[in-house]
């Protein structure tokens, strides 16, 4: 088993999940309650990774992060090195690729809260942060868990974007899914089987957590 790839994948998935939750809570709130006319535009952009081939997304991110674009040069100046073929670049790609898996459950969660409850909170507290932390987040906790588990497992299993942006550099960008691909290329089926079994177990466990919690919460 490629232990280096396991730790790299877990590190990537953990950081991606934390960043995505920090983004998905305010974005999901805005998509659920915002009234801006261009909300469908943002909603469509967030959902795009669901329908886009990962290689297409990976290709555009690779171009964007490369030294030939202004954005790439700015990012290189900020991080001190080009983002392509680095862990930081992989992280950016993972966050974008898994964005809908975190934002959509949060949006659904916020939309599921009765309007009367939200209004009752608005009548009693003028601080949106307090309403979010004391009323909304406790009510959408099952959705928060779904968002976290989906973001984590989707990151663990991603392949196309990782390959395009990271290139599979051992210890830097080579994740478990790339490791399986390499093992199959080398006809090391037993090793590939072990790695695949690990991913399969992880995915099943994640789904078990989501459905188990939903069953208890009656969602």
């Amino acid at each position: 088993m490629d232990r280096q790839a396991i730790f790299l994948t877990l590190r990537l998935a953990t950081l991606t999940t934390l960043i995505l939750l920090a983004v998905a809570i305010p974005l999901g709130y805005w998509l659920a309650y915002g009234r801006a006319r261009w909300r469908p535009l943002v909603e469509a952009a967030v959902a795009l990774p669901l329908v886009l081939p990962p290689t297409v997304l990976g290709f555009y991110l690779l171009v964007l992060m490369g030294p030939r674009t202004a954005a790439g040069r700015v990012l290189a100046a900020v991080f001190g090195h080009p983002l392509a073929f680095s862990f930081a670049g992989l992280l950016v790609g993972s966050v974008i690729f898994s964005l809908p898996f975190a934002v959509q459950p949060m949006t659904s969660g916020f939309r599921s809260v009765d309007r009367e409850i939200l209004e009752a909170a608005e009548l009693l507290s003028a601080r949106p942060g307090r309403i979010l932390t004391r009323v909304l987040l406790p009510l959408v906790r099952p959705f928060l868990l779904t968002a976290a588990v989906l973001a984590f497992t989707h990151t663990v299993g991603e392949f196309g974007v990782v390959l395009m942006i990271g290139g599979g550099i051992p210890g830097v960008t080579k994740t478990l899914s790339i490791s399986i691909y390499d093992q199959v290329q080398d006809f090391a089926y037993a090793q590939a089987n072990h790695t695949a079994l690990l991913l399969l177990s992880l995915s099943f466990l994640a789904l078990l957590i989501i459905y188990g919690r939903r069953g208890r919460a009656g969602v």
Partner: protein
């Protein structure tokens, strides 16, 4: 409380309903009558700050809450208005104490606890303090909703048919301590109701709203005279 307490001039369109309201509240208890879809709830939502009117001005106790021309807008929680509707809308993940204390974040823990105790005692709900909303009956939920709305000490109370579905005895058992408490603190209330008898019992002013306009406003015996006669005729006929 003889001077004007609440002055509202509102223009707002909601689907087919065009609200053109102009009213001044000076009575401690005003009952808002009107058929379904007349604009009663919309009026209360605008006063409470849950709906922004297209045009208008709302002044409560000398303080401008809304002035669309001057772009003045006071958010709901800063208006000093308590609002209770047909839906108690209690926070399901908090117990009764947590619900009532939610609007008291400006008070320290001790003062907040005392206020919660006072409110629960007022509505005979002290024994419910640790219960969750899911474990309460409809009447108990409305008592807690009222306690929660009154706890921050509002300067106006809006009641949008909060007792619908409750039996008459239960309604009286809630209304009596509520009206006494409001009268003691000189807090006026605007109360949406379909019960003509209630207006006479509480010596209220009555405001009749139809198709988004206020058609009559004054003491109950004057405004509801015709309706009272009609009811008496119906009783005589039966």
């Amino acid at each position: 409380m003889s001077s004007v307490y609440l002055q509202a001039d509102i223009e707002h369109t909601l689907g087919d309903l065009s609200l053109r309201l102009s009213c001044a509240l000076s009575a401690p208890w005003t009952v808002l009558f009107g058929p379904s879809g007349a604009g009663k709830t919309s009026m209360l939502r605008i006063l409470g700050g849950l709906t922004r009117p297209e045009r208008g001005r709302v002044v409560l106790d000398g303080r401008i809450l809304v002035e669309t021309e001057g772009r003045a807008w006071v958010p709901p929680a800063e208006r000093g208005i308590g609002f209770v509707t047909q839906q108690p809308a209690l926070f399901p993940h908090m117990d009764v104490t947590g619900n009532v204390a939610f609007g008291l974040s400006r008070l320290d823990r001790r003062s907040s606890g005392e206020r919660v105790g006072e409110m629960l005692q007022l509505f005979q709900a002290g024994h419910l303090a640790r219960r969750r909303p899911a474990d309460l009956s409809g009447g108990e939920k409305q008592r807690v909703a009222l306690a929660r709305a009154l706890a921050p000490g509002p300067r106006l109370l809006l009641l949008d048919e909060p007792f619908t579905g409750l039996d008459a005895d239960l309604k009286v058992s809630i209304l009596e301590p509520l009206t006494a408490w409001l009268a003691e603190r000189k807090i006026p209330a605007l109360y949406v109701s379909h019960d003509v008898g209630e207006a006479f019992q509480t010596a209220a002013d009555v405001m009749v709203i139809e198709r988004g306009k206020i058609q009559a406003h004054g003491p109950a015996p004057v405004v509801l005279a015709a309706r009272r006669q009609q009811l008496l005729r119906q009783l005589g006929a039966s």
